[in-house]
Point group: C2
Chain length 173, copies 2
């Protein structure tokens, strides 16, 4: 099994992180991997907003908590968030962004970092408060929230693999 | 640069294939990689229909050609198609399927195979004729077309990388 396939099969969604920040070079490589995803008609419908500013992470945390009515940390202490937004009106912004995110998840795993897709941010950005946050964070107009990637050094034991559903593949031969 | 990041940066969408079929072991590894993608709330919303039957590929080819009013081969001679359909009503079937497809694209690239996302199949499956095709191909009910992955030994010179759009990343620090 080559390193690519091994990384794909062993990547896990991490929900526990060290507080220390990742290295600039790691972040740069991960972002490049996102940018080199395929996209419908090469529209590259993604925009990545990298948030490492603690007050802004706190504001987003509190906004999502309030929206969901929970007190738990939706970002699990990760020191870096990559907010992924897709250009409205393009052919396939959700798919384009997801392709880019998988590249970034795998690049992170290959560098020994942990990551996870967090879904609440996309919904939060559609709220009035979330739209103000988007503006203050500099998310370009005309881009809608697709997902949020949390990123950092993983902490604690690796998550156990979750069973795969049966019957997800069939052959026409 | 590790092998994972290199594969991500060097993967290209191939539009020219040899006629010979890929190996069974390669196909199995690629499908496994698709199945191990992350998904919203672990719903694993994907179903993969692997089509290697030539009359069925021809039927799908002609259906897509008719729908689009073109005579070119939408599958570029690839001997294997993986039709990726997403479970309707789930949280994020399009994103789940795209994550799985990127895993499969990268696994294919790591094995020296070529692949490309072909978009017309998803639309075709929504037509009356396409729904009959889906039934005959055994695509489970309640799953909608998301994408089609063409797969095979690449032929000819590697596609040139397309320029990345500027300004797709910004930082909040």
């Amino acid at each position: 099994m080559n390193q690519v396939i091994q990384t794909i099969l062993e990547r896990r969604s991490w929900r526990s992180y060290e507080a220390r920040q990742i290295q600039e070079e790691q972040l740069e490589q991960i972002l490049q991997c996102g940018l080199w995803a395929p996209s419908a008609m090469n529209q590259q419908s993604w925009h990545f907003t990298v948030v490492q500013n603690q007050p802004m992470i706190r504001r987003l945390t509190e906004g999502c908590q309030k929206m969901m009515g929970v007190e738990t940390d939706p970002f699990y202490g990760a020191p870096t968030l990559i907010l992924v937004t897709g250009k409205e009106g393009n052919i396939a912004p959700v798919a384009d962004c997801a392709l880019a995110m998988e590249n970034m998840f795998l690049a992170a795993a290959s560098l020994g970092l942990g990551s996870c897709w967090i879904n609440c941010v996309g919904r939060y950005l559609t709220t009035e408060e979330g739209r103000r946050f988007a503006q203050d964070a500099g998310i370009p107009q005309g881009y809608a929230g697709v997902g949020c990637m949390i990123l950092g050094y993983p902490k604690g034991p690796a998550p156990q693999p979750k069973e795969r559903a049966a019957g997800a593949v069939h052959f026409v031969r």
